[in-house]
Structure formats: structure tokens, C-alpha cells
Amino acid sequence: MGVEMKTIRILIDHSIDALKRKDALALRRVSADALSEAAIEGHRELILLALVDYALSKILSKTHYSNLSGDFFTTVEQHFRDARAGEKDDTIMHLEQIEDMVIKLDKEKGNYEANLIEKAKIKKASKLYEQGFSLRRASEMTGADPVEVLSYIGTSKIHEFRGHGKNAERLRIAREVFK
């Protein structure tokens, strides 16, 4: 078993555990861990896991999903187990099934135009950008819309990194170009 699949299976185990306990915070932690691994390894299954765990954490914490039937979570848990048991392609397929379930649920019960998975993509892309990956890289890895990511990161202070300021030089160059 490759190191990557072992890591994914451990993360899926944590996801199942968090889901059974209906622990939204734990799911967000697993999502963050999956993204952290994805930043290094770049595997699609890690990104998918980060997205679905984040979206599931939101479902658990939002009041308008509070009367959701147990079947939803039972089916999600089964997909997690199947994802864990399979090889790479099966893992991706089952995580994508969870993704589809979330999108369908959000279409029926969600309050916003952007569904939970789209919001998860923006959030995770923003995190990757914060970590130092380019906007394009972050958006492509997660499938997020770069316009949405830019809008999101613009409102956050955590992306600010002044480094060695060159503002005066930049302004001088701009003046020179447009004189």
C-alpha cells in the first residue's frame, strides 16, 4: 500500500468517527488535515475528502439541516467505508458520490445560490492561497472559481504578508510606464 493511500485511509477513518459522533469541529479538523496533505501530494482524493468533510461539518452545524433523516448520514458513512476499502479510483468515485449527495441536499434545502460544495471549494482554495500557493494553483486544485476566491481572500487579513515592501518602487515604475 502506498504511503498516500495509507494516509487517506487514516483520514477517512477519522471522518467516519467524527460523523458518527456528529462532531462538526472534528470533521473540520480532518478537512484541514486532508488539505494540508493535498498541498504536498496533490492527489484528487485528498482534495475531495477536504471538500466533503468541510461541507458535512456545515450540514451538522446549520439549523436548517437539523431535521435531516438518519438515512443521509448512514449512506454517507457507507460511501466513506467503501472509499476506504477501495483503491484510488474507487476512493475517488465514492467521495464524489458523497459530493453529489451534498449538492443534491443543498439544492433541496439550501438557502443560497452557491451550494455547500462550491463554498467548500472557495474556502479551501483560500486556505491554499494563504499557505503560499498561487491563486491559479489554489483554484485549479480545488475547482474553485478564482473570482469567488479573490473576493473571499480580500475580506480576510490572514492573507496579508508585507514581506519586504517595494511599494514606492512599484509606484515609480508605474508612473514611468504611463508618463
Binding site: 492561497y129 503560499g132 498561487s134 491559479r136 472559481d145 479573490l150 480580500g154 508585507r162 514581506g163 519586504h164
Partner: protein, 219 residues
């Protein structure tokens, strides 16, 4: 005619703040060039989605009117830049892929002395101070990141002589030329401050300290 190579990040920031007319005005004496990759990002791809339907229409008009011109980057140079950029930083002995083809293409298209208009932070840091980017990666990933100085030096040969400016600098120049007042009404100081904050809130990598610095520097 002088040229400025535009990344989609700056164009999007300007578009989201209804500031694209500034480009039209400033394009009287300078060519604003985009790569095919940027064209796809701001026009082709968003047209398939439904969240920001106006953006691609505005950009297409700029292309059709000759305000934004499409340039072709050398493929080999693009590949070199891409490969070098994505083999400078390492984590767990694996290279970190930090930029995509679009960024590499923009840099490949820029000749010495031609600025890159780019609001996103990563390529700018890589070009201006790769050690700062290493610090950022290390700090945010909470893991040890190593840097291949030799490859960083090889990359720097492409970056040398290509300055990076942001939409904020474009805005400052437009302000100094009196262009801003043609499109937005307000007391001068208030106008500049509001516009800088608007760019920041739409993703231009400006800190609040940067904004205060600009307020002091601009005439």
C-alpha cells in the same frame, strides 16, 4: 508602444470594482497585453458558469475594442519558467507545485523592462524575494520547507528586469492623472482611499499598512 502584461487577478479586481474604464483610458499610450491563458480565464471559462455573467462580457468588449491585446508567449520559455518555479521549494523531499501555466506564460511573455500587472501574491513574491515566499510557506504549512537556491537563481534570470505592479499602482497613476474623477465622484483623498480599499477587498494583495503608505506617496 510600451507594453504591460496583465494577469487575470488584476483584471478581475478592477472589473469587480467597475474600474475597467481606467484601463481604457490608460491604454491610449500603453498596450495592455494578455496571454491566451488569461483570455480563457476571464472570458472563455466564466461564460460556462453562471455566477459572474457580466465579467466575461466586459472583458470581451475590451478585447474587441483593442484595449486588451492578446500576445503569444514562447512555449519553451513558459515550460522552463514553470518547471523551475515548481522545483524551488521542497517539503518532505517533494517539490511543491506553487504556480500554474498561466503565471508562467505571463512572465514568459514579458520582455525586460516590461511590467507584469499582477494582484496575486505568489509569483510576485517568487520574483521579488523567494526567501520571503519560503518563509510564508513554512509559516503557513507549519512544516519545514527547503529551498533549492540553484534553481531559484536560474528562475531569477527570467524574473530579472521584469517588475511587478498591482492594480493599486494603476489606480494611483489614474488618480494622479485625474482619470479617477471622471468615473467616481468624491473628495480626492476620500476617493483614493475608497478605491484602494475596494481593490483590497476584491483580492488585491494590499495590506491596510500598504494603503496608508499609498495615501502618503500619491500626489
Amino acid at each position: 508602444m510600451k507594453r504591460i502584461i496583465c494577469d487575470s487577478s488584476s483584471l478581475i479586481s478592477l472589473s469587480m470594482n467597475c474600474m475597467l474604464p481606467l484601463i481604457t483610458e490608460l491604454s491610449q499610450n500603453v498596450d495592455f497585453i494578455i496571454t491566451q491563458c488569461v483570455y480563457d480565464e476571464i472570458i472563455t471559462n466564466p461564460r460556462r458558469g453562471h455566477h459572474h455573467p457580466m465579467g466575461p462580457l466586459k472583458f470581451k468588449a475590451l478585447v474587441d475594442n483593442g484595449v486588451l491585446k492578446i500576445g503569444r508567449a514562447d512555449k519553451r520559455k513558459t515550460e522552463d519558467i514553470l518547471n523551475l518555479s515548481n522545483s524551488i521549494y521542497y517539503l518532505r523531499h517533494k517539490p511543491l507545485t506553487i504556480i500554474q501555466r498561466g503565471e508562467a506564460e505571463a512572465l514568459a511573455l514579458a520582455e525586460k523592462g516590461e511590467p507584469l500587472l499582477m494582484d496575486e501574491r505568489t509569483l510576485r513574491l517568487l520574483m521579488e524575494n523567494p526567501h520571503d515566499l519560503k518563509t510564508l510557506l513554512q509559516y503557513r504549512l507549519h512544516k519545514g520547507v527547503s529551498m533549492n537556491d540553484q534553481r531559484a537563481a536560474m528562475f531569477q534570470k527570467y524574473a530579472d528586469g521584469v517588475p511587478v505592479i498591482r492594480s493599486s499602482e494603476l489606480l494611483a497613476v489614474a488618480y494622479e492623472k485625474g482619470i479617477l474623477e471622471k468615473y467616481f465622484s468624491g473628495e480626492k483623498h476620500e476617493l483614493l482611499h475608497a478605491c484602494l480599499w475596494a481593490l483590497k477587498l476584491r483580492g488585491c494583495s494590499l495590506s491596510s499598512e500598504d494603503i496608508e503608505e499609498y495615501m502618503q506617496m500619491v500626489d
